[in-house]
Symmetry: C2
Subunit: 92 residues, 2 copies
């Protein structure tokens, strides 16, 4: 991943932590930041993208692509499928 | 909205309710079904799309578009912004 691309993995912290992480990466020169989440954190990933796009960097960045998918988590007999999302924001 | 287009609004019920609603609309002839959700239900909407695409209608439908946005909810002084998602599944 080149310096022009950033990435933020959404966990269980407050949404503003991830908003600031995304804004900081853009301010450090990233042309594109990929916001990734799994399971229940998916809603928070959409919140982060919307807050960055509509408030913090309004008019400067936009949604480039959104991909959804699923992956297997857990061990042997406790395997289960969990949904994933990747939202790429890019500088206009 | 023509008969060829269906729509499912995700609420708080079990995910399988919405999976079946989506599959039924495709079986009734819909070419495209739009899965919509707000707030915390966004994760469930991604689950529904993934389960329909990867299990129930595997190889028959695919994600056509995904749009995120936000809208205002609540009255006068209690207004707040909530994120939204629309995932359109279409027959191949």
């Amino acid at each position: 991943m080149s310096a022009a691309e950033g990435s933020v993995l959404i966990g269980n912290k407050n949404v503003m932590n991830y908003v600031l992480a995304t804004v900081i990466q853009f301010n450090q020169g990233a042309k594109r930041v990929s916001i990734k989440a799994r399971g229940r954190a998916i809603s928070r990933a959409v919140d982060v993208a919307e807050i960055v796009k509509s408030r913090f960097l309004k008019g400067e960045v936009d949604v480039e692509t959104i991909k959804i998918g699923s992956e297997q988590v857990g061990e042997a007999d406790k395997k289960r499928t969990i949904s994933t999302i990747e939202i790429v924001l890019a500088r206009k």
